[in-house]
């Protein structure tokens, strides 16, 4: 599983053309993985808002204050090993936004 994290998802000031270009970047990047027949599942995009439940029944609105990068979305890829999966992660647009891709094997 490739998990994408970015410091910010605030695109409220981003012009429309740039948003389109960004959308295209993601589409082309995932399309490239799919073209290799290595896309196993396209995860949903996570919305900006959310809540966090902590021990003791404390509920907070911002789930993201403590971690530097928020989880944005994820995809499932097919790869023989962790290194191959990491190779697929190269070129991910989250990296351009100062974010990261976390590569984690899943149990089947």
């Amino acid at each position: 599983m490739l998990l994408f994290r970015q410091p910010s998802y605030d695109y409220s000031n981003t012009p429309k053309e740039e948003m389109q270009a960004l959308g295209k970047k993601w589409q082309d990047w995932v399309g490239g993985i799919a073209a290799q027949g290595k896309l196993a599942g396209n995860g949903p995009r996570l919305a900006m808002e959310g809540k966090v439940l902590k021990a003791g029944g404390v509920v907070t609105d911002g789930p993201f204050v403590e971690i530097r990068e928020r989880l944005g979305s994820f995809i499932l890829v097919k790869a023989d090993n962790l290194d191959d999966a990491t190779t697929l992660a190269h070129g991910c647009p989250a990296l351009d936004a100062g974010g990261s891709v976390e590569i984690r094997p899943i149990f089947e």
Binding site: K24, Q27, D28, G31, G32, A34, A35, Q36, G37, L39
Partner: protein
């Protein structure tokens, strides 16, 4: 009536009559239905040759088929009464139900037959053969030619398919309401394959190929005429077929190979079919459903646009990206990479192409050859040579050699 017209009439009526008779006899006896119809055609040919054509040939055929069916049935009943008395009551009931060749019953029976033939229990290769025979009225010779196979193989395949109809106890009926949408997917897939069989067929017989495509379209139209099967994806498939068929005259496909090989000749595109395609594409846009047919129809739509604009290739690229996420195939991956080349440029496409590793596919090396041209001509040549070695036909090999010769 000339031979070709007679052949066409028989082909048209074959599927209707087999469907109506099978409705009475059950799919277990589909061979009997085929025999009855064949005998009827034989009688028609003899009688019409001697006395001339009746004013309404179809009505003549139905009347004779009705008599033939009764005759078979009575003969069959003697056998049944002696051997299997328990079946008589059912047979008697059937005897009373005269064959109904009304337009409505023909339509209903054909639709039910379509669902029966496209039952997932039958292997897909046999399914297409059976569809060609039973739904389209093609002769064994023609089916063999379309598959570039021989009559024995086709006969065996059909036999196995009919055996399945029996053993799986497949009935001539529409699936119950909750299942109809899922079963429709199977039917649409078979029609898609049927169309592709014609469109990409290896046979040189152009008339046969076109016939196959038109039959697939006719069956798809049939599905749009019935509320429960007239879904957005049905219209999307029909739109896809229209767009493809519009370029039939130009023998132009969106396959990368063809784009690389042939110069487009839009003058040969059939504009009437393109506007038909637009019509069905509009209908397919109802609701939120996006099937692979939707995506393929839109790709085909863009290929019907003459101007080679950046918008066109960007749209095609995104549609291929989406299509790959729904279902991957090597040819979609190659076509996507070609669109990437047109939309994002040669260098990016080359990087992506190198990752595909489709080592046994000559289109892959053809694409690599094209992408290396101008960047690294030595590698371009190596890839073209690899493509030439893997190409299956002489024409293709010559085409690739041409590209090698054109390299600086």
């Amino acid at each position: 009536m000339e031979q070709a017209a007679l052949k066409q009439l028989f082909q048209q009526e074959f599927s209707k009559m087999v469907a109506v008779i099978s409705k009475i006899y059950g799919l277990q006896h589909i061979e009997l239905a085929e025999d009855i119809v064949s005998e009827t055609f034989l009688l028609a040919t003899e009688t019409w040759a001697a006395k001339g054509m009746p004013p309404n040939p179809a009505a003549w055929l139905y009347t004779v088929a009705r008599q033939q069916t009764l005759y078979h049935f009575r003969r069959n009943r003697i056998f049944t009464e002696k051997v299997m008395p328990e079946l008589t009551s059912r047979q008697e009931k059937t005897d009373e139900a005269a064959l109904d060749f009304s337009l409505q019953n023909i339509k209903d029976s054909q639709l039910q037959m379509l669902f029966a033939v496209c039952n997932p229990a039958i292997a897909s290769e046999a399914q297409i053969g059976l569809a060609l025979r039973i739904l389209c009225g093609f002769g064994i010779d023609e089916i063999a030619e379309a598959f570039l196979s021989n009559k024995e193989t086709i006969n065996k395949r059909l036999f196995r398919a009919k055996e399945k109809l029996r053993t799986e106890n497949i009935k001539m009926e529409l699936p119950p309401e909750p299942e109809i949408s899922k079963r429709l997917d199977n039917v649409l897939h078979v029609l898609y394959l049927l169309f592709s069989e014609g469109y990409y067929s290896k046979t040189q017989n152009q008339i046969l190929r076109k016939d196959l495509c038109l039959e697939a379209m006719r069956l798809c139209v049939m599905l749009t005429e019935y509320d429960r099967t007239n879904l957005p994806r049905t219209n999307a498939l029909l739109a896809l077929m229209c767009f493809h068929a519009s370029r039939f005259g130009a023998r132009q496909t969106e396959e990368m190979s063809q784009v690389l090989y042939e110069q487009q000749d839009p003058a040969l595109w059939d504009t009437a079919l393109i506007s038909q395609g637009m019509h069905f594409l509009d209908l397919s846009a109802e609701g939120n459903e996006i099937s692979s047919y939707h995506l393929e129809a839109r790709i085909a739509y863009w290929h019907c646009q003459k101007a080679d604009t950046p918008e066109k290739w960007e749209a095609i690229l995104q549609l291929y990206n989406q299509l790959l996420m729904i279902n991957y195939s090597p040819s979609v991956a190659l076509n996507r990479t070609f669109a990437l080349y047109k939309a994002n440029g040669q260098h990016e496409a080359l990087r992506e192409a190198e990752k595909l590793k489709l080592e046994n596919n000559h289109f892959y090396f053809l694409l690599l050859g094209e992408l290396y041209t101008g960047i690294d001509d030595r590698k371009a040549k190596m890839n073209y040579q690899q493509a030439r070695a893997l190409a299956k036909t002489q024409t293709e090999k010559e085409g690739i050699q041409q590209k090698i010769n054109n390299l600086p």
